[in-house]
Symmetry: C2
Subunit: 243 residues, 2 copies
Amino acid sequence: MKIDHDSPADLSAQIASAIREAIIEGRLIVDERLPSEAELAEHFEVSRPTVREALKRLAAQSLIRTQRGATGGAFVNRLSYEAAQTQQITTSTLLLSMNAVSFETACEARFSLERACAPLSAQRRTADHLAAMRAEIHRQGQPGLTDEAFCASDVTFHRALVDGARNPVISYQLAGAVEAMQPLMNMITFTARDRARIIALHEQIADALEAQDAEATAKGLSALETETQDLARDVFAARAVKG
Amino acid sequence: MKIDHDSPADLSAQIASAIREAIIEGRLIVDERLPSEAELAEHFEVSRPTVREALKRLAAQSLIRTQRGATGGAFVNRLSYEAAQTQQITTSTLLLSMNAVSFETACEARFSLERACAPLSAQRRTADHLAAMRAEIHRQGQPGLTDEAFCASDVTFHRALVDGARNPVISYQLAGAVEAMQPLMNMITFTARDRARIIALHEQIADALEAQDAEATAKGLSALETETQDLARDVFAARAVKG
DNA sequence: GCAGATTTAATGTCAGACAATTAGATTTGC
DNA sequence: GCAAATCTAATTGTCTGACATTAAATCTGC
C-alpha cells in the first residue's frame, strides 16, 4: 500500500483511497484494527494530521470507527443496513433538491419501484406490517394534523409496505426513493378532500395486502401515483398563476 | 450554527454535522463559498486542524469541494448523479459483502427492481439503448470471454435496460442494486451451456423492448431470475459437496 | 482476592509555522 | 497605451511538537 508524494492530489485523499480499496477488496476485514495513527504516518511517510484527515474521510463513510484509550484505534466497521440507509436517504434527498428534479420524475421513480415490492409484500407481509399501515392510515385521518405530519405518516406507511417484502436489500434500496420524496411532498398543501382521497387509496392498498392480492396492491399504488401527480400538477399550476 | 465543547462527541464530527445540516436545509446553497478555515476555526472556537478534519468528512461525502489559492476555499458541491451513483455502488457492494447477504436475497432484490423498469423502458427506450444491449449480447457470445468479463457485460446490459426508462432517479437508485450483484456473480463459473441460456434470455428481453412489449420484457426478466437462481443453487450445492 | 491507584497507549485537540497554489494587483518593457 | 512579467495576498496543504483525554491493563495495599 503506497501513495505518490508528487501527485497533485491531496495526500490525505490518496491515503483514504488506499485504505478504502483495502477494505473493499477484503484485505482488511470487519473489526480488524488498523495500525495506529503514528504507525500509519510512518508507513505513508506523512505527518499525523494528514493521516487523521484520511481517517476522518473514511469515518464519514462509516467504513471505520475510532476508539480512544489504551486498546483504542481505528477499526473496520461492519456496514449496517441502518447506517447504509441513513447515508442513502441523505444522498437521495440532496440529489433531488440540488438537481431540481421535477416532482413528476421523482414520483414516477418512487411508485415504479414501490410497485416492484407489491408481489413480494402481498405474499410475505406479516400482521405487524399490516398493523403499522393501519395505524398510519388512522393517524392520517386525525383532524388538525399538519401537512408535514401527514407527509411523514405517508412515508411511514409506504416504508411498512416496502418492509413487508421482507427483503432487507430491497428495503435498503427503496429507503432513498421513498424518503427523498418527503421534502417535495411537503411543498404541497393538502385539502381535507385531498387527504380523504389519499386515505381511501391507502385503505385500498392495505386491504389488498391483507388479502395477499398482488395485482390489487399494484393497482392501488398506480391509482395513488395518478392521484399524487394530479394533485401536484394542480398545486403547482395554481401557484404559477398566483405568481 | 453552534457546537457543544463539553459534548463527548468529536468536535470535528459536530462541526461537520452542523455544516451538513446547513447544506441539507438550504441555508448554504450550491457553489456558495464557506468561510475560510481560519474563520471557521474562530467561529466554532476550535483550532484549524479540527476544522480541517470536519471539512474532509464533508468532502468524503462529495458535499463540498476545496480549491487552493487566493480565491480558493471550500464550496458547496452540486451533488451530481454520477457522484451519487459512485457512492451508492460502493455502499451497496460493501453492504452485501460485509453482511453476507445470500445470493438469493440479492438476486431477488435486483430482479424485482429491474422488473419495475420494464414498463417505462419498453415505452421509452431509444435506438441507442437497444444498440447497447445488442452489443453486449454479442460480446457475451464471444468464445474465450472470461467469467469476470461475462459478468461485467451482463451488468452493462442491465444498466442499459434500466437507463432505457429515461428516468435519472430510477437509474440512480438501481445502479447499486445492479452493480453490487457483480461480486456475487463473479463467484459463479459459467459453462458454455449456462451462457447460451442466459444469452437467449437476453435476446428475448431485447426483442421485447424493441417491440415495446412491457409484459414480455417483465416475463423475460422473471425467466432470467429463475435461471440465475437455479444456476447459483447448483454451483453452491456442488461446492458444498466438494467441501 | 479485590478495590483503588497508577501506568500506558491510543485518539482528540491545540498552537504556530512553512510550503504550494492561485487570482488579482502592480510594475515593467516597448 | 498595452501586454507581459512580476509581485502580493489569501487560502489550502502539510509539518512539528506538545498537551489533554480516555480507557484498558497493571500494580499496590490490605
